[in-house]
Symmetry: C2
Subunit: 427 residues, 2 copies
């Protein structure tokens, strides 16, 4: 019967009917005896429409004014949602990010939360209100200007408020039933995950799973706020993301097994290969300094073994496709200094990642992974691993087949009743 | 070279092109050496669209949430306008009503301004910025909630900021060239007024002229802020509304003449007649107490002479048509106590008003007025006069002809080169 923070995305409040449906769900939570704080995004395509208006007015909008513009979107949805709740006979008040105490730095368009002072929210709850808060926005600490939090900002608002208010759970409502073992559009037999650890969710998020962004998961992990990802349409239980599985205690023999969470994929990246780099110390550093100076974020980095006969090596990395040109320009500017031969750019690639705890200490996982790809006839171009993740780059057109093959090989397909632990006792 | 406050209405910023055109005009004012504060309304039909959304969600929106919703409109227009100005190479910052220091009472949807503390605006100007302020909105003094100022709110914001900042003029930009001697859609020969006194403008505004609302004129009169009403499309000089005519000194012989400002009309009202009221003290008071308790604003009130034979009289009054039902309900509730015979409701009426200084002491004005109506074949149903205004109620369908007849009779038609003073020396 504690405090619950609920977040509803733009697709859940796309029109008046959606707003009324969400209002009923919120009221049901209140009726169940909870205090309820709701974080809401802008309706449907509102934000895109506002961005289009800005583009009609100016080629380079001022960051401060762009934030002022975009925050109009949540203002509309939150006021309508509060009205809809009051129509159902419950008290509700809406609050801007600033009124809710979401304090940020001054980086317009992608501000970071530096403090949350939810005094007005707490007071509204004490008076029996349901509090509706604009997601995605805050107020800068020094200049008191309106800021927006950038991608995934509304989810982060919800988690941050949940942490500041000591909520028992942060429910993220979306248009899918939860986090799946793979993208259900690619893998028909993908299974909804009932529970996943923060760390695994972080890896899935940074490997292409779009249900939650890594930023929000990282915040929840730091403050140990359980996230419940669920559908605003179906009403079914979704996926719990938390530090420890609330429904299971580890049993004997399980502790050291790898526990596969899921398969993620991402076709939004491109691959850059720097061909014929002199194989001597410092060359790689000069390449990545040039990339960093151009403010390009890179993902995987692989250096091939040097061909002994030439003394030259190739360095490949992946990056968001739309940052490709910037990276190539930066590298071409330092070509003479470094002395590499040429650059190759390839945006027809895809990345497949397997995420699960205990992976590195279970060499069988890697073997099974590569066997599955091989049997599916998928060629591997790059490999990168972390403690709980293994990623490969393939041709983009091979991605769906590769994801399905890996999903099946690790027993994740839903015709088995439960999640299957690799090499293990079943769980 | 002082400070200028400019206000642009929704039709001036209806789309991206409009916003860019307004931005150029603002920059021109800045280039001329002025400090510029701009008050802007929501774009075109934005407010109507938001109201429609609210109606889809709830039959009776909460006042607080309705204000939160509506204020999204100015947020969009002001941010876009600031972006457009910056694209022209000038510094601009946008401010919400709250940020601009527009402090109001807590009456949502029609809040009154109780203080203006424009510290952030002054600071932005000192740094060389053009300040863009959201019209129509403020923040309540006690609860710190977002409020809206109701009809004419953006004009009032502009005048209030002009007063608080000591502006030399408040320019109200609209889609017409200024204040006219009559509605140009009705009277083809209506003439733009170069200058009009606050008092006359107040009477015109409360008699149906829609260019400025009486509320904004009253604020300007109290703080003696000259208003310049002009077109954002033509760039021509418009109408100055101020305490004294800046271009004219009174000449001998003019002081005592009536100076006709214009003819206003209004077809948005209805007439209620309370038939068969016992003609004894206190009956009228009971009728209007019942109306006041129902929070209905009434305009003209006329009591007919009692018919000696019956001891009964009729009382008529006019009110906004959409408040008619409320008034009838209130009167029916007290019918037994007062003992009147019946109620009549008539929404096919119109009001024509002649406004000008010195009218009451120039009986020829009234005579000419009624002669003009008579010659046009217009029947008069009610008459009401003030120091500088005479109003009559007629059939609604007679209004255009009545307005034209009066306009011509007082020599206001524009084929004369200058405004003509009734019975006077020309001016």
């Amino acid at each position: 019967m504690g405090l619950v923070v609920q977040k509803y995305g733009g697709s859940s409040v796309a029109d008046a009917e959606g707003i009324k449906r969400v209002a009923r769900r919120i009221v049901d939570t209140k009726k169940a005896g909870h205090e309820v704080v709701v974080v809401v995004s802008a309706m449907g395509d509102t934000t895109d429409e506002l961005i289009e208006l800005a583009e009609q007015v100016t080629p380079i909008p001022s960051g401060r004014e762009f934030d002022m513009l975009l925050t109009a979107g949540e203002r509309i949805s939150m006021a309508l949602l509060a009205m809809a709740i009051r129509t159902l006979g419950f008290d509700a008040q809406s609050f801007t990010g600033s009124q809710a105490g979401v304090i940020t730095d001054s980086t317009h368009n992608k501000a970071r939360i530096i403090d949350v002072t939810p005094g007005r929210i707490r007071a509204a709850l004490d008076e029996g209100n349901i509090a509706i808060v604009a997601g995605f926005q805050g107020v800068s600490q020094v200049s008191k200007d309106i800021t927006t939090l950038g991608r995934g900002g509304s989810d982060t608002t919800a988690v941050a408020l949940a942490a500041a208010l000591g909520a028992e759970v942060c429910e993220i409502y979306t248009d899918v039933d939860g986090v799946f073992t793979a993208d259900p559009r690619v893998v028909k037999k993908a299974r909804k995950i009932d529970w996943i650890a923060f760390e695994d969710m972080l890896e899935l998020a940074s490997s292409g799973s779009k249900v939650l962004l890594d930023r929000c998961v990282e915040y929840a992990r730091r403050y140990n706020i359980p996230i419940h990802v669920r559908s605003s349409f179906s009403g079914l239980p979704g996926t719990i993301v938390s530090g420890t599985n609330p429904n299971k205690k580890p049993e004997g023999g399980e502790m050291e097994q790898a526990i596969i969470s899921g398969v993620a994929h991402d076709t939004s990246e491109a691959k850059v290969t720097v061909v014929g780099v002199p194989d001597k110390p410092g060359e790689a550093a000069r390449i990545f300094r040039a990339i960093a100076d151009a403010e390009v974020n890179i993902d995987m980095v692989v250096q091939n073994v040097s061909a002994a006969s030439t003394g030259l090596t190739d360095i490949s990395f992946t990056l968001p496709t739309n940052e490709g040109q910037k990276a190539l320009d930066a590298l071409n500017r330092v070509k003479e200094g470094i002395g590499f031969e040429s650059l190759r750019f390839d945006d027809a690639i895809g990345k497949i990642s397997l995420v699960g705890a205990g992976m590195r200490s279970n060499p069988g996982v890697t073997a099974t992974f590569f066997e599955a790809l091989s049997e599916a006839g998928v060629n591997i171009e790059l490999i990168s691993t972390s403690e709980i993740r293994i990623s490969v780059v393939t041709r983009a057109e091979d991605v769906p087949e590769a994801v399905r093959a890996v999903h099946t090989a690790f027993g994740l397909d839903s015709d088995t009743d439960e999640a299957v632990v690799y090499g293990g006792t079943g769980r």
